[in-house]
Amino acid sequence: MTAPFGYMAEFRTPEEVLAATRKARERGYRRMDVYSPFPVEGVAEALGFERTSVPATVLVGGLLGAAGGYVLQVGLNAVDYPLNVGGRPLNSLPAWIPIMYELTILIASLFAVLGMLALNGLPMPYHPVFNVPEFARASADRFFLAIEAADPLARLENPREFLDGLRPERTWVLEP
């Protein structure tokens, strides 16, 4: 048998999985994750995951969209193909606003979605947690806590014994 990917425990309620996560973190586990059918308040913080870079990504996208919209319109209507409409200045910012506004939103939204997916590592067709058939309920009504075998503390003690001590419904060894 190859070395396992990690160990996983199943809980019935969001409160139980939150308490278990806090205990695991106090114990010293770091490489772990919680799987739940909806975002459980406080779990990400209990895992030590406080900040995400999604907002910064969106800001970059928005700025690129606004700047891109400006450059596009000035470049095309004032530089490459100057078009005199009613004697107005060639580079007339008020007329550029609507398209800059739309492109800001468009590029920021694309960055929000693609950034979120990229940071989450999705699409990811395979993950060891899917080896447990009961894990199907992680998308319905059960909550799972998984500790990776690569965790420094997992080399010193058996995480499965620790997980069993948290009084879960069940525990498993995760095949890689």
Binding site: V54, V58, N77, V85, R88, P98, Y101, E102, L119
Partner: protein
Amino acid sequence: MADDAAPVREPVLQPGHTLTSVTARISEVVLSGRTPRAWSAALGVSLALVALLIVSITLLLIRGIGIWGVNGTVMWGFAITNFVWWIGIGHAGTLISAILLLLRQSWRTSINRFAEAMTLFAVASAALFPLLHLGRPKFFYWLFPYPSVFGAWPQFRSPLVWDVFAVSTYGTVSFLFWYVGMIPDLATFRDRARGRFAKVFYGVLAMGWRGSARHWKRHEVAYLILSGLATALVVSVHTVVSLDFTAAIVPGWHSTLFPPYFVAGAIFSGFAMVLTLAIPLRALYGLQDFITMRHLDNMARLLLATGMIVAYGYMAELFTAWYGGDPIERSTHLDRLTGTYAPVFWLLLFCNVLVPQVFWSRRMRSSIPVLFGASILVNIGMWCERFVIVVQSLSHEYLPSMWRTYSPTRWDVATFAGSIGLFLALFLLFLRFLPSISMAEMRQLVAARPEEGGS
């Protein structure tokens, strides 16, 4: 309102539901494989209309827009009326999803997904019309700034070019918002599907979502930001559409009132369409526990509120035409009240101003037939409003020698009916194959219920 003193308000989710029951109930709509007979019948009718649409478009491509009733004076006709109407309908989806999310209105949860789908399909139906109306639709891509051998570029000072950017951004962002919200539910379908094909289909769409706490955190943040962006977008789209009109000097169009008036009308017609779709949907699939009378009641209130804004718009439009003292504006508006298209104008006043007033009464807001009937009338009224703005204004320009009427041909009507069929067919397919209520958000509602109290 008098109803504030009402005893107990209907809940947003009927009591007794657990995480398990919510998931099972919503996913069985799709995964049980049972198809209600009414669904098949409705799809049959819709597909027949789609066939009519295909015939009309084919004929249009062969013969040109001469098959429509448009002429050199009233050159916009049904096509632009339908475009503005459909785009407006889309607005309620984004409003429910984005603005009500930012305002933390928990009642949006069960209706946001299908309202977003409605937005997408309405935008799809809308986008057909300007393309077909181009006359030479094969050159539609000339509207985009692509490096061409002509050496010419789009004219970025034109509201018609703004429109291309606004509508395509709206379509894209609405799709992203809809899809991102749906990823966790697609994962649920993947895990619950029985057939091999369904597992693979939903598995690919879910992209390997496994509900990791870190993923949820990023997902929540991204979704919240998207809703903020969509909020900024929803007020801009119909504003830009209205600029197509106001930037022209046609009497009846050239008014600063148009942008807010169009946005209010858009939201008004969108909520009417959400009601029109929600009422049969909850009956068809027995989803009364999730789409409760509370939802219908709230939507009726919103119809009343936005209807009042629209009514103010009509009043302000007539008032400024009279008070402004411009004889041409006055003549156009007088023609609106008494001329060829006066019956349409009075019908729109009846549908959009009078009909929503029934919703002051709590009893009317809790009567399904009244809600459904009123929502249909508002849809009709809003279409008439677009028709009056587009056709009547163009038919009555500056000089009597420019006055000319427009009447639709059978192909105008066929194309419009076909676009309704396209919208309904897409919506029915969505109901059958995708999660029409957000399960992840319903689970949050279930989990949060003890603290939620009476609100």
